[in-house]
């Protein structure tokens, strides 16, 4: 019975196996990114970035019609441009990161909407850009997995400056110049993973798989490395349970995955070892003499 519910969907249907593979690849990339976003108090940046991608997708559409590759590339370029420009402005002026990002993404969104309306069709571009986790064909699956690989490799390279800057930016500035480039590269990784997530989950749910697991992990560890592991693991678990849930109950897969992650988050808020509500109310006995 349990086997039937949990394993048969995947052994009977190839699209379920592909969906699971995609969600695991996504989790591996988005988990660590989400943790760093949270540590740097940038959790809402993902949301803003998602909007910044529109003009790129629109230009791709203008140049080559409804071509998924062109629109994805355009979206990547637009996202990078906004990330770079806002990163540069906040690093070289007094404007805070969130404010400069907000202005750039709004400008970008306006350009995107203008381009779309000049072309004058009422096809929803972002809708075309957004895929469905149940529709993983070979190119999409390879792209998702490839992007996750790149993310992990790049993160390994910039890991030290990124961690130090997240916890003590002043110290990093005194010992190294790696802070700014690491930050910009990190912004680029956010864009890559967002576009990646769009392919699989669609709309803002892509942001969900990035931020929610990080939120979960925060309640179970104080150290960065275990936090990243917990984030990745909880993202994968949400993906698996979400797919099974979608198979058994007709909830669309994207929302199902994020719903499961939200429940895990709720559980972590209540029971989390680090700062959870219940452990705070009923502290353990280990502090007693």
């Amino acid at each position: 019975m349990i086997r039937q519910a949990l394993i048969d969907p995947f052994s009977d249907f190839e699209f379920m196996r592909r969906a699971l593979a995609a969600v695991i690849a996504l989790s591996l990339g988005s988990g660590p990114i989400g943790v760093f976003l949270m540590l740097r108090r940038m959790s809402l940046v993902g949301d803003a970035m998602a909007h910044a991608i529109l003009p790129g997708a629109a230009i791709g559409f203008l140049l080559s019609g409804l071509n998924l590759f062109a629109m994805t590339t355009g979206g990547l370029i637009a996202g990078f441009a906004v990330a770079l420009l806002s990163g540069l402005v906040s690093r070289s002026t007094g404007l805070k990161e969130d404010a400069s990002l907000a202005t750039f993404y709004l400008a970008s969104l306006a350009i995107g909407v203008t381009i779309v309306s000049v072309k004058g069709t009422n096809i929803d571009l972002l809708h075309v850009l957004f895929g469905n986790i149940l529709a993983m064909d070979d190119p999409t699956l390879l792209m998702v997995a490839g992007n996750a690989t790149i993310t992990l490799l790049v993160l390994a390279v910039i890991y030290r400056p990124l961690v130090i800057e997240s916890v003590d930016p002043l110290f990093l500035r005194t010992v190294s110049r790696a802070g700014a480039p690491a930050h910009l590269i990190f912004l680029g990784l956010i864009v890559v993973n967002l576009v990646n997530g769009f392919q699989a989950l669609g709309t803002l749910l892509a942001v969900g798989l990035m931020i929610l697991p990080a939120g979960i992990a925060r309640f179970w560890s104080r150290d960065v490395t275990p936090m990243i592991c917990i984030a990745v693991a909880s993202a994968i678990v949400s993906g698996y349970i979400g797919l099974v849930l979608s198979f058994q109950t007709r909830i669309p897969s994207g929302p199902a995955i994020i719903l499961v992650a939200s429940l895990l988050y709720l559980g972590s808020v209540l029971f989390g070892r680090v700062g959870g509500v219940l452990p705070q109310l009923f502290p353990g006995r280990h502090l007693e003499a």
């Binding site: 190839e14 379920m16 009422n122 075309v128 895929g131 529709a135 064909d137 669609g202």
Partner: protein, 291 residues
Amino acid sequence: MKRLLPALSLFLALLPSVPASAQTRPNVVTSFSILADFARRVGGDRISVTSLVGPDSDAHVYTPTPHDAKDVGAARLLIVNGLGLEGWLPRLQQASGSKAPIIVATQGITPRKRGADADPHAWQSVGNARVYVRNILDALVAADPADAAVFQANAERYLAELDALDQEVRAEIGKIPPERRKVISTHDAFGYFADAYGIQFIAPLGVSTETEPSARDVAEIIVQVRKDKIPAVFLENFNDDRLVGRIAAETGAKIGGTLYSDALSEENGPAPTYIAMVRHNIRALTSALGR
């Protein structure tokens, strides 16, 4: 006398040797592109036709623009499909201050029921298209009696073309083996077509096309296609052709091409006119279902 009258009015219509200029041609506004094509064929160069919902756009989800209100305000005649397709029209007409009469082109067609509501896609059967054309002819004649003979002649010619088209569709479908005359389709637009020509459009059970499909929905479609040995899937309004590709890959069914249902394509597309649209659809069906 009855035969003399059109001839006489034709003569009268031809008397002013200069054709009526663009300013004086009556403006006919139609709600969507297929009606516009009918009206153009009947009206010819004696009327100017504007379609509110243009080619490649969906009349179900259309939102009127101020420009459309202007068009409606300037219209001598408004041609609509009726059967609940143009829910937005009453408000638009009120907003535009138009006094133009509204002609319901489906007048006289017995609507199919889709649940409690009528299915508006009556034009998908060529037989019904003839009714549309006659209704439009009557409306144009009433609005512009001076050109009645021209309209009459245009309509006769067009109706003959539609007759030939109807025969052609039946002949093409006759070539498909009867046991293969079924497709899975989430299109709810082909009810009239299915009734008239005997191709089954099997809707995937319990699948709504408006929302994102769940894993269960996709699994059920796959099971159904395998079980009923359905030769082809036409699911393009799943919005994501990769999903349809996935279903086809797991069942061995062919992926049907695009079926035009609610709108014509642009001028240079595959279905710029009604007749081209029907031909395009029938070619898509026969190439997917034939052996």
